[in-house]
Amino acid sequence: MAPDVQPPAGAARIAGEDESALIGRALAGDRGAFGVLVERYAPQARRVARAVLADPDDADDAAQDAFLSALTKLHQYDRRRPFGPWLLRIVANAATDRRRRRQVRRVEPLDPELAGGGARPDVDAERSALSQRLREALAQLPERRRVAVVLFDVEGYSHREIAEILGIPEGTVRSEVFHARRRLRTLLDDWKEG
């Protein structure tokens, strides 16, 4: 059974009309204003961190580090530009740093039975199993590739914005997204056909 098609979280792009004001208040020392930004961007930040770090606890630690880092660097943020890409660049860097520092335990390779489209688990557990397989498949992709596809297909950022977040050329982003999709789509198609 194919997963329910839901609007990607990125489709509900965070409205930026009052972000500049929130950031101004945060710069003036209003922690509540920064808390609003944390609440808005936490889901995105956690998903991006989890695309880098397989372990959800490590990912949350990295996302938290990123928010603290963003607060300390807030005066460097250009308020004429969107906040999301600036923040997610910090998140991606924080997650990468954490992965390098802690040498996060490697995700086990795909179970051959699952990878080969073997017997499907119970319907109740199907969705959870698919998610697990996707996470494992993501973990096998190069880090930049998995972050790129998550930013594009989950968070809804453009190639140009992702290039800015990752600090790489836009053409490289397109290539990374293409290769990641090819791998993940194969997995999903196998799942549907199974």
Partner: protein, 119 residues
């Protein structure tokens, strides 16, 4: 997801996006936000740190400036004292320069020049 992707496909894939979103969806959003907000007090914006650094530097610079001014002041008065003594001894019964400088009235020019002529 059913279409073949081209290398530079710029359209989003809703099905893949939804599946990935479900796979990566974090839990306990409220708890995470609470945890981050609670930790914000440990963070200090760099701008505050920069200002604090400037304040520290300002205090140090002011202290150095005061020290330098103090030294200059001391050096400036010490030679004057020697000169004053020498001048006073040379002038004999005339008033010392400090007395001339401290006086509210203008000094008598004849006294000053007379002492110099005598030397």
């Amino acid at each position: 997801m059913t279409h073949d992707p081209t290398p530079f496909d710029s359209r989003r894939d809703p099905e893949l996006g939804a599946a990935l979103s479900a796979a990566l969806e974090p839990r306990d959003h409220a708890a995470f936000v609470q945890r981050v907000v609670a930790s914000l007090d440990r963070a200090r914006p760099e701008s505050w740190t920069v200002l604090a650094g400037w304040a520290r530097r300002g205090v140090i610079a002011a202290a150095i400036a005061a020290l330098v001014l103090g030294l200059i002041d001391n050096r400036g008065t010490a030679p004057a004292t020697v000169a004053e003594e020498s001048f006073a001894s040379g002038t004999g019964d005339t008033l010392p320069p400090s007395a001339l400088l401290a006086s509210q009235d203008a000094p008598d020019a004849s006294v000053v020049f007379a002492s110099l002529v005598r030397r």
